[in-house]
Amino acid sequence: MSGLRCARLRLFLTSILDNTTSKLYNRGVKNRLRELRAERRWSQADLAARLDVSRQTVNAIETERYDPSLPLAFKMAALFACPIERIFEPDAP
C-alpha cells in the first residue's frame, strides 16, 4: 500500500515538474521522425551520428519531449531530402 502511495506521489511530483518546465521550454510539436527513420532502417544511434547529436536527443525528439532548434530541423530536412513541414507538423490552433 505504501509502495503504491510512493509511486503515486512520485508520478504526481514528476508530472508537476515536467508540465511546468516543458511549458517554459517546449511546445510539443508533432513529428514523423520515427516513421522516416524506420523507412530507411536506421537505428536511433545511426540517425544521431548523421545529425551529430546524441542518441538521447534523437529519442527526446521522437517522443516529443523536445522540439529541435531550427538549424537541427533544417539538417533533418536535408538528411531526409524533404521539406521541414513533412517532418514536423504544428499543433492545431
Binding site: 520515427r34 524506420a38 532502417r41 537505428s43 547529436v53 546524441s54 536527443t57 529519442n59 527526446a60 523536445y66
Partner: protein, 139 residues
Amino acid sequence: MTVRVSKLFGLLPASAKLAIVFVVTFAAAVHLLSAGYADWGAGPDTFYVMVLLFVFFSRERQDDERVRELKLRALTVAFVSGWAFAGSFRFASYLQDRDAVPKVPSAYDAMFVVLVVANALYLLWHHRDGRDVGDAAPR
C-alpha cells in the same frame, strides 16, 4: 587548468557523475551533522560547491543542444529551490527567536543546494531521454 578539469569531468559517464554528486552530498551532510553549522566554514563548503560546479558545467561526451536545454531547465528549477531554501531557513530562524536577528544561510550554502538540485534533475532528465527505446533499432 579549469578547461582541463572540465574536460576530465566530461569523460565521465552519467553514472560516475551521479556517484560523485551523491558522495559530495553525503559528505556535506555528515560534516554538517557532526560539526554543526558553526563549523560549516568557507573551506569545506567551497570544496563541495566547486566539485558540484565542475560536475554540472563540465562538457558532456556529446554536448548538443538538448544537453544545454536540459541544463538550463534544471538550473531554473534549482534556482527557485535555492531561493525557497534560503527563505525557509531565515523564516525558521525568525520563528525560533523573534527578537534576535534572523540567521541567513551563506551564499555558498544556497549555491550548494542549487547545485545538488540542478545536478540531480539534469541527470534524471538525461537518463529519461535515453529510455523508451523500444524501437530504437528498426525491425
